[in-house]
Symmetry: C2
Subunit: 445 residues, 2 copies
């Protein structure tokens, strides 16, 4: 982190460390929850990371967690850990506004399945985090309650759409937060805010109770301070045994994908990200994509068609309730033709086969997470490597391929550029998440 960033209690503490201290009696769930609530109180006015805080509910859950631990009931690695949840995911009894005036004042009546699993794992839910309106945008600065702000520079975006979760973890307000990722919405704020963001394989974590953006691309993911924390949370969310496979990631073959094959990228950012791969035991070689056009065609046709299917009646009946930004893109989405959707689905099939082949040649793929570092709030155009680009494209170009392929991907902090965080992205095979996150852990470390 840069010098002047807000540094809440959790800014240098992992859930793994906290879990040990909880069991050693050196702290309590109530103490951790109070630490989270104070950090929110201290820093959130400047960051707008939270849309709702459940002080009473959180303290009650923390007391229960402490009592259980004292009584010998141990719910695993998230027991007693404060967690924040993106505001498009249902948490019973808390507001859930999707970042939208359409849902102003809306309160969830039940838990999303992923939230139910967090609770069953003993996590303490402290509140809801800011999302780009309906999760439809990677900047995090269009929402009816205003933009989330980057802890490294509050005049800049967090990235999105899980921007509040990124800021909350980066500022040390919570050690762990849930996000969702349709084209990069967990990994982008992780990269721009300097934390770890993990998107599991498609379908690994249920999306019931999550407001859909594009159902065949939507993933629930996590943001945390370490890859090990992501792994622990992932296993709880996916309903897996808490014990990892034992893959250490001490040796692995990594295929470096030149980001320019997908989108112009800041060359300094590329160098910084690639340098982070210089870790003992990793054999890195260059890998070329066969037909990157399929990525753009496939992603856009599918995301637009599914997104508009989720919004058609709202756009027709209450267009004024959207921000201009999102309304304009929804209208563009609505103009996608059915035959283009058909071709997009075929492009996805081809791309999935290609990714499957690439991942049979190497253990992991790697590239930067984004083409640029955090831009100014509200900015929509940017010059990247001498080329004019829109900010949205420059943020999403390197993450969306892995939503389209449905494979697990993680963004890890890889240094800074002008004081702003740079993210390195690692992509792995479904079923080999432990290897992916073990390598990520060695890089962060």
């Amino acid at each position: 982190m840069t010098r002047h960033s807000p540094a809440g209690f959790f800014h240098d503490r992992t859930t793994t460390e906290l879990a040990q201290r909880l069991r050693a009696g050196e702290t309590s769930a109530v103490a951790l929850t109070r630490a989270a609530l104070s950090a929110v109180e201290e820093f959130d006015a400047g960051l707008n990371a939270f849309t709702a805080v459940d002080r009473d509910g959180a303290l009650q859950a923390a007391e229960k967690a402490d009592a259980e631990l004292a009584g010998g009931t141990d719910r695993g690695p998230l027991h007693g850990i404060p967690v924040a949840v993106k505001d498009i995911i249902d948490v019973a009894g808390l507001p859930c506004e999707m970042g939208s005036a359409h849902f102003a004042g809306h309160v969830s009546t039940s838990d999303a399945e992923c939230v139910r699993r967090l609770r069953a794992g003993g996590a303490v839910l402290v509140g809801k985090t800011t999302t780009h309106e309906f999760a439809f945008g990677p900047t995090g600065d269009s929402a009816h309650r205003g933009p989330s702000r980057n802890p490294h520079d509050p005049t800049r975006i967090t990235g999105g759409s899980s921007g509040g979760s990124g800021a909350a973890v980066a500022a040390g307000m919570v050690p762990l937060a849930l996000g969702t990722d349709t084209g990069g919405s967990v990994r982008i704020p992780a990269a721009l805010c300097g934390v770890v963001g993990f998107k599991p394989a498609f379908g690994a974590v249920p999306t019931d109770g999550v407001f859909p953006l594009s159902q065949s691309l939507d993933h629930v993911g996590v943001l945390a301070r370490s890859a090990q924390d992501c792994r622990a949370a992932y296993r709880v969310l996916a309903g897996l045994d808490p014990e990892p496979s034992g893959e250490t990631g001490e040796t692995a073959t990594v295929g470096w994908v030149a980001p320019e094959s997908l989108h112009p990228t800041d060359p300094e950012l590329t160098r910084t990200a690639r340098a982070a791969l210089e870790v003992d035991g990793l054999a890195v070689r260059d890998i070329a994509l066969r037909d990157p056009k399929d990525v753009h065609r496939g992603f856009l046709g599918i995301q637009f068609s599914e997104a508009y299917a989720n919004h058609a009646e709202r756009v027709a009946e209450h267009p004024e309730r959207y921000t201009d930004d999102v309304l304009e893109r929804l209208r563009e989405a609505g103009r996608t033709a059915g035959w283009q959707h058909v071709r997009a689905l075929a492009a996805r099939d081809r791309w999935r086969r290609e990714v499957h082949e690439l991942l049979s040649e190497v253990d992991l793929l790697a590239m930067p997470t984004t083409c640029v570092v955090a831009t100014e709030l509200g900015r929509r155009e940017v010059t990247v490597a001498g080329t004019d680009a829109n900010v949205r494209g420059a943020l999403i170009a390197l993450t969306k391929p892995w939503n389209l392929a449905g494979v697990p991907a993680v963004s890890v902090p890889a240094g800074h550029l002008g004081g702003l965080p740079v993210g390195l992205q690692l992509i792995g095979r479904p079923g080999r998440e432990d290897l992916l996150l073990a390598v990520a852990d060695r890089i962060v470390g």
Copy 2:
């Protein structure tokens, strides 16, 4: 058949009977092929069932089939049987014009997989049959080489799109013909021409080498004089063992679906079709559909989107090469939105679940094949049960649900109305085709 219909050699002969006579030395493949060629010569000028006849190739194949049988090589139930193939299916060395000026003069360079299987089964390919342009229409009267004509009344349609195959079998020019069925294109001409038409389960017969109309709804099917003939051909086409399961169809529960729940239907036609079910051993009861709206929404959204994806460049570059009829529908298809396609796919999922449930309650479903008997060539509007309807809708409404569900369905002759054939449709479970066709066989008989 009505009195004055053309009655070629095969008009009262099944492939099953012919196979026995071939093995008893009472006929030969060459004799059968010559009979087919003469019938085509005698009757086709009035019916336009054939777009190409391969006299030399057929006689050569017949000679080979005879030599093989004489030498002790028996390729199974289609060995030495003359077969015709719809003109959107590749047969190496023969013209394949798809009923379209776009492909005028086009000659296939390889066999479709289904044709390869027919040849491997010893069938003798005598020629190609007329199709509605690009198989995109159920009337069979829009094609660049003119309409196929109904043997029962040449001023009326055969139904389509496999109209030539329907006319060729009905007029006794061949005992068996291949068709394709995206929304009813095998069963509709079978019903209107008074023969049996079978559409297998989706995916049971490969569509490689078949010009696509709507890939996720396209099926290869067969038209013949008996359900037993369809079963024999189906097993060859699907690569199954020639021996059926032994299901006799002597008892079965049949759910009657009132056609009016899908489309207004001629009540006399409904009565005629239902009466054909009065066969010993069949327990018939009424079954209601839960949400038939899903059928229309699902079918149209998917067929239109996929069809336009297959034609977009041709429509843009050479619209003048289409008939007005098909061009107008393609343009309408192109206006289907991506989000409507997404909702259509969801509607299909719901419909498939409903059909799966219905078919767990009864062995078979039954309803008429079409809502009307064969209409006059070129007619596009019709009054059905006092309601104005378009002919296309009245032909396809009862068959398309089973393409959308992907389940096997067969149309069998169920009597006549004003001298024109009525079809009864039976629908079964994938994997239980033998039961379906055994019951169909008892009804035809």
